[in-house]
């Protein structure tokens, strides 16, 4: 399997805290890769390093065989790295449609003149598809600020999906969701085409073991183990550190 994302000796410190410590990790193209670990293990920091919101102190990050360590966040996004945030991060003053549209229209984002009707319609179709996929069909004109918590999580995912990413970083999508919403979310993630590689952070281990083909366990900023769900479940250190 060809690797899509490769982290090589990546570290990031905050003062004395080694949030991410010498992490070497490979995510295969098309993988369903989950990242688990207790709170403070460095999972979200790792996402920020991959997405580009943070720069690593040491180490290199390669994406599709390109060194992206020094690229700014927005360039990485345009290479095809999309992410959702742990705490919904939406444009609460804009409509649901505009939330998705802003990502979809990024190739023409600097246009000072409104788009023609046909191009606007084509973009809106892409947005509606993404919204329908997450179960928000018909909510296009609602204000994002009027959505419920679960709907915000769904919109968060639609925003990332609509940009047709190669790598999707999903940070705790099921947090605060009802069991029914979680089930739908799991199906949605599982049904994504294999051209989309998914790296998932999730505390709900049922979701993780039901979805992932590869699981990495992070503990105190280090990778404790990487393997198939069964291998990870059987791993002694992992059981001690996390699964209990």
């Amino acid at each position: 399997m060809t690797p899509l994302l490769e982290l090589d000796g990546v570290s990031r410190r905050f003062g004395e805290l080694r949030a991410v410590d010498e992490v070497t990790l490979t995510v295969a193209d098309g993988a369903r890769h989950a990242l688990i670990g207790p709170n403070g293990a460095g999972k979200s920091t790792l996402f920020n390093l991959v997405g580009g919101a943070l720069r690593p102190g040491t180490g290199t990050i390669r994406f599709a065989a390109h060194d992206i360590t020094a690229l700014p966040e927005w360039r990485r996004a345009r290479l095809g790295i999309a992410r959702t945030f742990q705490h919904s991060s939406l444009l609460l003053g804009c409509t649901v449609l505009d939330n998705v549209l802003v990502g979809v229209q990024r190739d023409v984002g600097a246009r000072l003149w409104p788009l023609g009707r046909s191009r606007r319609r084509a973009l809106a179709v892409r947005c509606r598809e993404a919204l329908a996929a997450v179960g928000l069909a018909g909510r296009e004109t609602h204000a994002a600020g009027a959505l419920s918590h679960g709907e915000r999580r769904q919109l968060e995912l639609a925003m990332a999906l609509a940009t047709a990413p190669r790598l999707l970083l999903v940070d705790e999508p099921a947090a605060g969701m009802s069991p029914a919403e979680t089930a739908r979310l799991t199906t949605l993630l599982a049904d994504l085409p294999r051209e989309v590689t998914v790296l998932l952070i999730e505390h709900d281990l049922d979701v993780v073991f039901g979805f992932a083909d590869t699981v990495s366990v992070l503990h105190l900023g280090r990778v404790l183990a990487t393997g198939t769900p069964d291998e990870v479940r059987a791993h002694r250190q992992v059981r001690e550190a996390y699964l209990g």
Partner: protein
């Protein structure tokens, strides 16, 4: 704004010189000019989420440029407006390199510093600006071949023509993809970066556009007043523009102009009959408006339309 309401407003504005007296017309011209300034503030504050007290600096630079150009090569209005816009854009692009790195109160303070610097420069650079005496300018000639406009009504129509063009352009920018990106940055900057936008460049672009708009408003100011002095780029002008934007409703361009009308007519027309207590009255109006219309005039109209729907 709905097309019907917009059309009615345009007809009313065009017909105004045949209806209203000279004083009201000159106030209305003031409203349009300061309304453009308020729109430039609104582009930054209401659309992009950057509270500014510095737009009077670019407004004043445009005004001085127009006045000096008029004394040097004649007061051709089109040339004045384009020149002032270019100068406003150029200075805003340069200062913006520093300013758009800041956010919130820091941004407000930096823009305030810029307008204070511009104010001092206008007062002290006497050979060019005439210091506190200011600079007078001849009556405007809209385009080559037309006579000088001396009547208030005619000057007003020239200002209105430029206003309508610029209003249309700004409305287009706000509806264009660029405008959506700015609203996105206002709501959630981190998300826009993660979505693939170099946010700093977009804000610098918005700052430059706002500078151009303020500069062009400055050129029109010289056409209406035939005079420019340091007080035209002082703190008061920036503050009034910001108040007008808040009164009108953050983010709404017609709201910014309506807010300007409220400010100008309260201060100059009603206030004039209260023997110079215009600013006091304006303060009272502002307090009332913030209590009664927390989303400004535009927000109130939106709420009315919702209730009817």
């Amino acid at each position: 704004m709905k097309p019907l309401a917009g059309g009615a407003a345009v007809v009313g504005l065009v017909a105004a010189p045949w209806i209203a007296g000279d004083y009201v017309i000159s106030l209305l011209a003031k409203v349009l000019v300061l309304g453009l300034l308020a729109m430039s503030v609104n582009l930054l504050t209401g659309v992009a989420g950057l509270p500014t007290l510095g737009q009077a600096a670019y407004f004043g630079m445009g005004a001085y440029a127009a006045a000096l150009a008029a004394r040097g090569f004649g007061a051709v209005g089109v040339v004045q407006v384009l020149l002032a816009g270019a100068i406003g854009a150029a200075v805003a692009a340069l200062t913006g390199l520093v300013v758009v790195r800041a956010r919130g109160v820091a941004f407000l303070m930096l823009t305030l510093a810029i307008s204070e610097l511009a104010f001092s420069a206008a007062q002290q650079w006497r050979p060019v600006t005439g210091g506190s005496d200011g600079r007078a300018a001849p009556p405007v000639v809209p385009v080559w071949g037309l006579p000088e406009l001396r009547l208030d009504g005619l000057v007003y129509l020239w200002v209105l023509a430029v206003f309508l063009v610029l209003f249309g352009l700004v409305a287009a920018v706000v509806r264009a993809p660029f405008g959506l990106v700015l609203r996105g940055v206002r709501d959630n900057e981190a998300r826009l970066r993660a979505a693939g936008y170099p946010v700093g460049r977009y804000l610098l672009g918005a700052y430059t556009l706002a500078g151009a708009l303020a500069g062009m408003a400055g050129a029109l100011w010289v056409s209406t007043q035939r005079y420019v002095s340091p007080s035209d780029l002082g703190f008061t002008v920036s503050a009034l523009a910001l108040i007008a934007v808040v009164l009108g409703g953050l983010g709404s361009m017609w709201g910014a102009v309506a807010g300007t009308a409220l400010v100008v007519f309260t201060r100059d027309l009603v206030g004039g009959q209260l023997s110079g207590r215009g600013l006091l009255l304006l303060g009272a109006v502002f307090v009332l408006a913030v209590y009664l219309l927390p989303r400004g005039l535009a927000g109130a109209v939106r709420a009315l339309r919702w209730r009817r729907a």
